[in-house]
Assembly symmetry: C2
Homo-oligomer: 613 residues x 2
């Protein structure tokens, strides 16, 4: 800004306003069934929101620690899933909501399975499913998991733990009932003790929001990048939160708020909007169902104000195509002789370029696959993955299928940027192995991929194009000169040859001559920071290169290498100047030809820019 | 393709494979409690998937009609919501799941409210809430609504209706109980009769999938574009489907399948993935809970194979920024004098261009807003909405807030493409009224928006730039010529003046001269099909224009108009040729200057293309 002022975040201010507004609510009572919890300040009130791309917004007592209590349940359930898989865990703990209170025993009368992992019985059973050679080791694994979720080490409140352990007779009864039905093996008491400890873990709103955002982000902590839970189990953790997380308030919660959520009796609440964000609220006053009064109100208000309801989502189908081009309207940087350029303008639609982006899931892949099945007269298609953020299994499967079909139909598929789309490569490699590289061409950048397609199309359309040495009279620069005039210019030439890979022009050097390519191919490379280089153009016989630096007297801006064995005729600036004195008419013609060439390139560049913005 | 072959859709084939596989399942029984339903062929089996961008995939008996039965419930509930609003409807029908069977009476013992709209009692209450002066009018409104959802008129099966009416004593009892508690007003029997009729509506799998896709698409039928339900109520309809749609199977369903769903006793099942797609399955054999056996299996399998679980979503945050550029690396097509071009290269970062795309919801807007609050040294920002698909209320609110803050901080915000982003304009107009146009500039295209920002920046950086007439010696084309040589060229000039809006060059005409701009501004326009035109460039005094057609002797490719009062010096091709004969040295210099200009423009165009692809 012209002033030094930076605008504050409206998101922070909206949260602060909500905090102010809801601070006026004094309904509900602080939990006292664990005596230590009764010591909380009933007015504590913090809110934090963390997004899956690392935005953090916190207001009020967002760094006030409290014990997470039942908030620990879904996370420990997730660890049990990682240790045993879904089928085995489902055999011990159900996933049906129950209208009963949080501390009800609620075991299936026949199997003894707790109805779901969010009631105490199911939570204790989940803790019992966490692997560990010793009780200590089990607790350590639980704490380690929470450290990944929260992005920092969390400790256990010794007073609350002691208080919980001293009064937790009902939970001990549950432990013995679980042992009775064989849901817990061995002595159930250490498991119940671990459960008391996990409930007494201290966290604050920002931890809660980060943990929730980690679930929203397929198990990867968006602030640290650490994987807290394998992505495949996230939907199961959120699934039980969705129907059982708010006790017997589940229906109304999903209806009104529309996010999987969990509350704890110390006053914490988390809510998760998959793919988008996590919310953590702390306010110790509870309603009759054991949920934080302000916590529920804040989540409802945020859902309404920010349109966070899970069931209210815009269509995503077309969002994965960033750009569509074809080979008639957009070309590689290979500078083509006139006949080739004309052939591409006429037949280039046989080359399609589809630039993909964002997340490829079933619904976005479906649209692309449909487009691909509906194209007619296709010879090759470039699928540009450089802007793709992720590819899920089902999208990978669809691509696999359509790629094989395109191949069978004689269409060549060329990929760019797949070396960075690791999930896509892994999926393809799993399904096709080494055949992937046999069936499909891959390039890092779009430009060489497109050139490769153009070359194939041109080889079919213009099979007789000479690719060998040309005569001096064929230089475009000498167009319109008489035989005698050509001879004059030729006498000013210096002939040089280069081996494949040899440097013809080096970036940064002063420009002393322009080059006319008589035989072979040369490419222009832009040096990049990390010793890498990006190809800018390729020239074929008959063309001039290095002429721009000669015109504007700038140092060479790019490096030019011989792609093949190359012969060039060099015309130095000094000789060009001399030519202006001795043969002004010839020099005028050369400059006119040079301008013509620049003019054509500029027209093409302008056409392409119009396609791209 | 080179061959005529078009690849078949892998999605269709995956569905066909699933259909084959699950045809082998013969578990379950056809419902017989309504005698007419017992006549169904138990082997009927159809699947259809419709996506929110209009993809349709159907296999098996997907056009076999059957009665929708309980599938009618969520849709009629939605109509009740439209007629009365959420609060009033919630006062009559709850949203909590119940473990009871679908035909249980399940009324709240105190209020008499049915527990949720998916059990018969709640569904009959919902039907009673549909407005209509007569019973016929109510039924007509229900049928009209279904026609919008399905994209075709649906009829009522008279036999099934008669059978249902003849045996529906339990539902009549429910009707009287609802009347007893005052949930239904007046005679409850016509309402129960309408309920029997809505259950007997005939549809097939493709109808079901289209109806589901309409819910996935915020209430807009993706095949016809018709609004079947106001978008704000879709989340409520899906909310009750999410927790109550599959009877007492809700927890496991949300855990395993992760999509709001509803089944009907004739064997239909729908599932909805918000934003993405709808699924319709038909297979009459039911399990003990009244859900189609194959229907449930197909939805589970599709959820697993296509990763459709609602809680398993990739992060969407950064997906809404298509391109970021700044005024140093990308410029408008206004051709700048050297000093201005240099100033833009040095200070252009004060202009930021953010090209938005896709759907703007809270999480995607958050990222953009965060970027905007973190920018320093910003003078103006162009927000390009041309690729935006939708803007929801909360994103609109965030934009509103950040825009006012940027304005207060002295940053100029310029919009492009908002005239097509109707939801965004509506939101802004609702909040700002006419102030929107006062506070912010809007342009249709990026180019004039960017030029406007550049002009403002340059006016601050270079306040003394002459904007009036310049001397002949200041023409860039004449750089390096001596005073005498300039005089020679000047003698070849023809001076012309133009009024604002006057045509200087007309597209299609032959090129006879190049123009040197002495005073005023001219713009180049490309004629478009619908009498519209697109501005390609603007020139200011000292510059040459119309020179490219002179060089390549092509007809004029664009039209050039005077933006202001304009004076030009014209140099005709004939005189330029003559100059080559009489003063070759001068002509050489002119051609060198011309090449230099083209060279610079080409370098700039190439830099921009590199930014854009």
């Amino acid at each position: 800004m012209t002033s030094e002022q930076t605008p504050s975040s409206p998101i922070h201010d909206q949260l602060a306003e909500l905090h102010r507004e809801y601070s006026a609510i004094h309904d509900g009572e602080v939990a006292t069934y664990i005596p230590e919890l009764g010591k909380a300040n009933p007015d504590w009130f913090g809110i934090c929101v963390v997004t899956t791309n690392g935005g953090i917004y916190e207001v009020g007592d967002s760094r006030q620690e409290f014990t997470i209590q039942s908030l620990s349940k879904p996370f420990v359930y997730g660890l049990a899933l990682e240790d045993h898989g879904r089928a085995e865990v489902l055999g011990k703990v159900g996933v049906e909501p129950t209208g009963d209170a949080f501390n009800s025993i609620s075991l299936d009368p026949v199997t003894g399975c707790p109805r779901n992992p969010m009631i105490n019985a199911g939570a204790i059973a989940s803790t019992g499913l966490v692997e560990g050679f010793t009780d200590d080791a089990r607790l350590r694994r639980i704490l380690e998991m929470f450290a990944h979720y929260a992005g920092r080490e969390l400790s256990i409140d010794p007073q609350v733990y002691a208080s919980e352990s001293a009064t937790g007779h009902r939970n001990r009864a549950i432990g013995h009932m679980l042992r009775n039905f064989g849901i817990l093996a061995g002595d159930p008491m250490p498991v119940v003790e671990t459960y008391f400890q996990q409930c007494a873990i201290l966290g604050h709103c920002r931890d809660l929001a980060t943990m929730a955002a980690t679930l929203a982000n397929r198990g990867v902590n968006p602030l640290t990048g650490e994987q807290a839970i394998r992505g495949e189990y996230v939907e199961s953790v959120l699934g039980v939160m969705g129907t059982c997380g708010m006790y017997d308030y589940a229906g109304e919660w999903l209806y009104e708020v529309g996010m999987p959520a969990k509350s704890g009796v110390a006053g914490g609440v988390i809510a998760v909007l998959p793919g988008q964000l996590g919310i953590g609220v702390f306010s110790p006053r509870l309603d009759s169902k054991g949920n934080s009064v302000r916590g529920i109100r804040v989540c409802s208000a945020l859902s309404r104000r920010w349109d966070l309801h899970l069931f209210n989502r815009p269509g995503i189908g077309k969002a994965a195509i960033r750009l569509r081009l074809n080979g008639a309207e957009y070309n590689s940087s290979r500078i083509r002789p006139k006949a080739e350029a004309a052939a591409l303008r006429e037949h280039g639609e046989a080359i399609q370029i589809i630039q993909l982006q964002s997340n490829l899931v079933f619904a976005t892949a479906e649209f692309i696959v449909r487009e691909l099945t509906e194209l007619n007269g296709l010879e090759s298609v470039v699928l540009d993955f450089r802007h793709v953020l992720s590819v899920n299994e089902s999208a990978g499967h669809l691509f696999h299928d359509i790629l094989l079909r395109l191949h069978a139909a004689g269409v060549t598929v060329v990929f760019t940027g797949v070396e960075k789309a690791t999930s896509f490569r892994r999926l393809m490699r799993a399904r096709l192995g080494a055949r992937f590289e046999e069936l499909f061409r891959t390039f890092e950048e779009l430009d060489p991929a497109l050139q490769w397609c153009e070359d194939r199309l041109l080889a079919r359309l213009l099979p007789d194009l000479p690719d060998t040495s040309i005569a001096v009279t064929q230089y475009a620069l000498l167009d319109g000169l008489s035989r005698e005039e050509v001879a004059v210019v030729q006498s000013f030439f210096e002939r040089r040859t280069y081996q494949p890979g040899e440097t013809i022009i080096r970036a940064g050097e002063p420009a002393r001559e322009l080059f006319l390519l008589s035989r072979g191919l040369v490419s222009v490379y832009l040096p990049l920071e990390n010793d890498a280089q990006k190809r800018l153009a390729t020239f074929s016989p008959g063309m001039a290169f290095g002429e721009m630096a000669v015109i504007d007297r700038a140092p060479r801006s790019a490096t030019i290498l011989a792609d093949t064995e190359v012969s060039c005729d060099l015309l130095s600036i000094a000789r060009l100047t001399a030519l202006g004195v001795t043969h002004p008419k010839i020099k005028i013609r050369l400059l006119e030809n040079l301008s013509l060439d620049l003019c054509r390139k500029l027209r093409k560049a302008n056409r392409e820019i119009a396609q791209l913005v």
